[in-house]
Symmetry: C2
């Protein structure tokens, strides 16, 4: 399945040439939990790292039933029709439980999955959220190195997944279905804060009027929040789309491009990318430190006892932490 | 200023007896940046740790101009009139820059600062946000150990301070001023998500009608978000108050108590407290690890170079992190 070290440079070269099979193999390598695979994955990521190759990373969240696959199919095909290369990555920490749904999505994106300019990657079979974040960051880096123009990172919004996706995206899009008055309250706390664009899908046929009302409701709610520093007037923005009629999909793409261009001109874009890269680096260092230090069973038992005392309130967190440090790093 | 080790037990005893001067001295000790003070602070926190003493921790955010001091004065005095002991802690990472404003707040809370049942503590002169979080957590623990019934943690909302305050509170209250249609957009992104109660102050005199409209606007926006799991219907809630006329302050307190009681009955309260304590413990371990490891100047220089390469995009974050780990913890 995964390449031995001497093949890593070969894989890197094919990937940089835009070979989709090489990209798929590379993602499989970075997804692997095996320590020897990880060393090769790091070598590959180092070999392809290139600040000149930047895709537009769009985070997209929508619960089942909002027509997410139909939207991605319509949006993705519109982009490939314009000659843009589009990668779709799925982030779904629950994918091992929900089983076939992602595969189902892929077969529903029939046209897009046949497009030579498109690459669709289902969720990995990894449930741990930290693992999902790392794997997705690496997969995005690989898609950028392979020369993709747009990377769409989609999530169904289980647990913290939207925040994770937003943190690795340049733009975040929330896809909603039209709702009657009683069906509101559907948006998870936290998501209104990270959305740059709220798209109300299914603005067609019988649902058109409901969609218009839903757009107005969310536009009102978004106006109550201060706009992000350095963003143009009118953002975050709510608008109707119909993936079925292909209505508003181009307008939504335009709104994304305007925001992206604006952020590039103000320097916000590059500042954010730099911030993200630093943050990932710090995360990796922190996680790695704990991983390397916590393999001592005696220390583990002591830490577990302290953790439980802290949870019970019988020990002060700072004092308990000082004791852990003395165990992990004896002076 | 700070007590030698043999006095720590004496300080702990006075603190547990509810002595306000001992509490003030104890907070000064936990605020100190000196390593030898920290050891004593940890000893003190250990000595007073008592899961039986729990205050209601209320986080309160409001930008200058919303009448925060007037509200705290009215709210705090209402509580002390009921025989409750109230501590007010300020979290303001910018306090070194804004200088006298906190002291000004204290002198504006004239009646409350004279109440024997009240304790008001201005911000420490520490700008680093991590330091502020730790100091405030410790100060809350000391107030609880001293037998306070309510700990009000107030912030002007600079940077990430609301999130930090919300994470150490049981309830989070956002105080707003009435606004005309054009003055909306005032709420910082993120804060609507963490508020349990949105209070629109100055619902009196000429501003009464505007306050009613503002309450309706925010109530509408809050309805668009899914309620927190385990919370009763109607929460998060928006309501008008007038600290000047003392109108609605009792209703707001009632709403806080209903929510607190509900969360206690469902077990959410204790689960959250346990989660917070664990999180603080993990934070302390992580920060302490990095602090202890990063005192090697050779390692520091190497890490700085890697961090800068990562920021430029020339190194992959995961590979750079692996190299840092090899420097910090040679195999």
């Amino acid at each position: 399945m995964s390449a031995p070290m001497e093949d890593v440079m070969d894989l890197a070269e094919k990937l940089r040439a835009g070979d989709r099979r090489a990209l798929a193999r590379a993602i499989t390598l970075v997804e692997s939990g095996r320590t020897d695979h990880r060393a090769r994955a790091d070598a590959l990521l180092e070999a392809v790292a290139d600040p000149e190759r930047q895709a537009l990373r769009i985070g997209l969240s929508g619960t089942p039933g909002v027509g997410k696959s139909t939207f991605i199919e319509a949006f993705g095909c519109m982009l490939t029709d314009q000659g843009l290369r589009v990668a779709v990555l799925a982030v779904d920490p629950s994918s091992t439980r929900s089983g076939g749904s992602i595969l189902g999505d892929k077969t529903r994106m029939e046209r897009l999955s046949r497009e030579p300019l498109a690459f669709i990657r289902p969720s990995p079979s990894q449930t741990q959220l930290g693992g999902v974040a790392r794997r997705t960051r690496d997969a995005i880096a690989l898609c950028e190195a392979a020369g993709f123009d747009v990377v769409l990172i989609e999530t169904v919004g289980v647990g913290q997944s939207e925040t994770i996706v937003a943190e690795m995206s340049d733009l975040f899009v929330l896809l909603l279905a039209p709702a009657g008055g009683d069906e509101l309250q559907g948006v998870k706390r936290g998501i209104m804060e990270i959305a740059d664009l709220v798209l109300v899908n299914k603005a067609d046929g019988d649902l058109k009027a409901a969609a218009t009302r839903t757009v107005a409701d969310y536009a009102g709610a978004l106006r109550l929040m201060r706009k992000r520093e350095g963003d143009p007037e009118g953002y975050p923005m709510a608008m109707p789309v119909s993936a079925l009629d292909m209505h508003g999909v181009d307008t939504a793409w335009e709104a994304m491009q305007v925001l992206a261009e604006f952020r590039k001109e103000t320097g916000f874009w590059q500042a954010r990318r730099t911030e993200q890269a630093r943050g990932w680096f710090e995360d990796e260092v922190r996680l790695g430190l704990l991983r390397r230090l916590q393999h001592d069973p005696k220390a583990d038992a002591a830490i577990e006892t302290l953790r439980s005392d802290v949870a019970k309130g019988t020990r002060a967190p700072s004092a308990a932490a000082a004791q852990v440090l003395d165990i992990l790093l004896p002076k």
